[in-house]
Every structure is written in C-alpha cells, then in structure tokens.
C-alpha cells in the first residue's frame, strides 16, 4: 500500500486520484503507524515551504527515519524541496536534509514563477523516469528550486535560462520538482514507475 502523507497541504487529493486512476491502492494518512507500514511513501505539497514544513511537524522525523531505513519515498514539488537541507522561501527553514542542497529563489531575469510545461531530459539510469524516451514535457509551477549539491544524487534537468533540476534520485529517495499528477500521460507513467519501484523494493525485503 502506498501512503500519501496527509499534512494539510493542497494537492494530496490530486496525487491520490492519480494513483487510483492507475489502479494502485493508496491511502492518505498522517498516522505514524500507517506511514511505517507503507510499501512506499509520497510526500506531496502545494504550499509555501515554511507553511509546509511546519504543517508536517513531528511527522518529519517519522518520514526521515522510514526513508533512511530504505523505504521508497517520493517527494513532489514542495514535498520534493523538503527533502533538501534548507529553504529560503519567505524566510529561512530547515528541510529534512535527506539530500544535500538548498532551496533558493529562481533568478529574476526570467518570468517567475516558472509555470507551465517544460522539456525534461531523462537520463537512462533514473528508475523513476524509465520508459519515457530521452525527453518529455512535464508541468512545473514554482518560484524556488533546489540547488542540488549531493554527489550521490542523480539529477534530471530542464532548461530555464540555466540547467534547472527537475527530478532527483538518491538511493531509495526520489523527488520531482514538476507535478507528475498533473503532467498528463507522461506524469502518470512516472507515478506508475514509482509503484513498480515500491513493489520491487518490498519483494526484495520479503
């Protein structure tokens, strides 16, 4: 069972709808026990960083320990940004620190927010982005981005005046700056890939 962490932010329902559409059992929950029992975790997020990290509250330690124990974790948008060490959106906030890097504002020489469908180059070795060819459009909506500084993280980029990190993978920890749940068939394929990753991971454990 995939558990979508329900912590008072915007898009939890959309993420759940997308998994349901794929025929994948999923549950919204903020119960630490349910979270620990999940086959995989999704940390969604349509919110400002500070609001989101406060709303996650004590669950952040649960998510962190479960992820460090090897359970697949997928962060989406602000949920993805929270995987990093720090954010500077409307203040300064600590993230979960699972991936090295900071969340900073997009350069002001481009239209901000970065909003719409942008082409992501898909490295062949990123499990989450498999089966989609070498590049695809995904839907982005954000004003801050993660400056990834982790040598252990694989990164897929899009172009927005510079190479903007669009998706990362570090061991069992996955993240998308774009919204797979709102990126049409390509986005649904990304979520399907995450379902497969969770299945595989849990078979290996058993």
């Amino acid at each position: 069972m995939i558990v979508i962490i329900d912590y008072d932010v915007g898009n939890v329902k959309s993420v759940s709808n997308a998994f349901s559409h794929l025929g994948c059992e999923n549950q919204l929950s903020s119960d630490p026990e349910v979270i620990r029992e999940a086959s995989g975790l999704v940390l969604p997020g349509v919110a400002a960083f500070g609001y989101a990290i406060n709303a996650l509250g004590g669950l952040s330690e649960v998510v962190k320990s479960v992820a460090l124990a090897g359970k697949p974790l997928l962060g989406i948008c602000v949920g993805y940004q929270m995987l990093f060490e720090k954010s500077f959106e409307y203040g300064e906030f600590d993230g979960l620190g699972l991936i090295k890097g900071q969340v900073i504002g997009l350069p002001a020489d481009k239209t901000v927010p970065h909003m719409g469908w942008n082409l992501v180059k898909l490295p062949a070795d990123m499990d989450l982005l498999k089966g989609l060819g070498s590049k695809k459009h995904f839907y982005f909506a954000h004003s801050f981005y993660a400056d990834v500084k982790d040598p252990e993280a694989k990164v897929a980029y899009t172009e927005y005046g510079f190479d903007l990190p669009a998706s990362v993978q570090k061991d069992n920890i996955y993240g998308c700056q774009f919204h797979p749940e709102k990126s049409g068939s390509a986005g649904l394929k990304v979520l399907q890939n995450f379902v497969e990753i969770c299945k595989k991971e849990n078979c290996d454990v058993d």
Binding site: N11, A47, A48, V78, P113, G116, A141
Partner: protein
C-alpha cells in the same frame, strides 16, 4: 524550453458550460467534466473553470465539480469565480484544483493575495483582471469587478504591478471589449501588463483564429492564451492550434 500554454476556459453556470459575447448572451457548450476531460485528452495544457454565477448556492456545486474534474483530468486546472477567502481557496485546492483565481475579492481586499501566497505559494494564486478600455484616457484600461458589471477607477497596469508584489503568481487578463467577439486579443493591453510585471500573463478575450494566438504571444508578450468560443464550438482543435504555432516557431507541448 518552457512552452507557451493553450488554455480552454470553461465558464460554468448551473453545472453547464456556457459562453457569451462581451459577457452577455450566454450559449450552452456542454457538461463541464466531459468537456474538461475531452480537452485534456486533446492535448490542452491547462484548464480554467470559472463559476460565473458565484452565488452562495453555487459554491457547493463548484466544489463538487472540482472533485469530479480532479478524478478524471490529470492536467492542471484553475478554479475561480466568487472566491472570497483563504478558506475557500483552501477548500478548492484540497478538492484537486491546482490554482485558484480571484478578482473582486482581491480588489476589495488585496491582502487576500498575500495571505494566499504565504499559505499556498504564489504559484497557486491567479489574479483575474477584467479590463475595459478607458473612454476618457486613451491607452489606459480600468479594472471591472463583479463579473464585469461594476467599473472601478483602478488602473489595470498599476493593479497588476501591485498584485505581483502582494503575491499573485499569474495574471489572467481578460479584455471585456474583445471577449467573445473572435476579432483578436487586445494586445496593447496584454503588452502593457506583460511588460510591467515579471509573472506570467494569460491573454484572454477575443480569440477567433490561430493568428490571434500567435499575436498575443509575440505582440502581447503572453505566456499563455486562453480561449472559449473557438474551441467549444469546434472551430479549431487544440492540436491544430499547437501545430500552427509550432510551425511559426513558438515552443509548444505537442
């Protein structure tokens, strides 16, 4: 490269999509969920649903509509019409909308933009402006509220700049003069606003053919083009529009 967006707009009244001319003479254009799904399947980049009745009774209907759309449509959609508070924004975002648009409430209480942005991030907050050419001052536009029925003395460009500072992440800019006429967007208006702000401007009102879309992007500086009449009544498919733009060198998600 970030692509320019094609956004069908669904004006909703009593659970039906309707479309008028200059905000009047509404015609029925179908079921909102079905139409939304069809546009998504056809390759629309985004959808906008506007509750044009925006009464207390219609609030409940629109939340139910958002829930239904969100179960069937996996592209972003914005919901607007009659939103008065951050709590109402929250309800719609939770129900599956990606963004909310505010118009009258933001004019009456600009702080709603700041509060919304602080809570949800500015990418969720769309400021809708209904703009009418000023009769007294050429080259200026006035902000109209309450579905266009009430003109104010607020200047459109100044309002857009202020709204960006407060926390609006996008401007949905409708020309009331051009709306539903199919004679082209008001690109003087689009240019005046898009060059004054750093957030995306969605051009709205007046699309009649593919050239109009191109002009709004190139001459008007729009990041996205919104249309209703020309898609609802079958003049063009989304794909035809995108292929046309692509052939003229505009980046689109084909």
């Amino acid at each position: 490269m970030l692509t320019k967006r094609i956004i069908p707009c669904l004006d909703v009244k009593d659970n039906r999509v309707v479309k008028g001319v200059n905000f009047l003479n509404l015609r029925d254009a179908g079921d909102p969920v079905e139409l939304g799904k069809r546009y998504s399947d056809m390759g629309a980049d985004e959808l906008v649903f506007l509750d044009i009745t925006a009464t207390i009774r219609s609030r409940k209907t629109i939340v139910e509509l958002v829930e239904k759309v969100a179960k069937n449509v996996f592209i972003p959609f914005t919901v607007g019409g009659g939103i008065q508070s951050v709590e109402q924004m929250d309800e719609l975002l939770r129900s599956g909308a990606e963004k909310v648009s505010v118009n009258t409430a933001a004019v009456n209480n600009p702080e709603i933009l700041r509060e919304g942005a602080r809570k949800f991030g500015n990418q969720c907050i769309v400021l809708a402006i209904d703009a009418r050419r000023s009769k007294n001052t050429p080259g200026k536009w006035q902000v109209c509220i309450k579905a266009g029925s009430e003109p104010t003395d607020i200047d459109v460009v100044q309002w857009a700049v202020k709204a960006e500072h407060l926390g609006a992440g996008e401007i949905l800019l409708t020309s009331m003069d051009a709306d539903g006429t199919k004679t082209g967007y008001d690109n003087q208006l689009n240019k005046a606003v898009s060059s004054a702000v750093n957030i995306p401007v969605i051009a709205s009102g007046g699309a009649g053919n593919c050239d109009h879309l191109y002009d709004a992007i190139v001459d008007g500086g729009a990041e996205a083009v919104l249309m209703a009449s020309i898609t609802h009544f079958g003049n063009y498919t989304i794909n035809q529009m995108k292929e046309y733009l692509s052939a003229k060198g505009i980046p689109v998600n084909l």
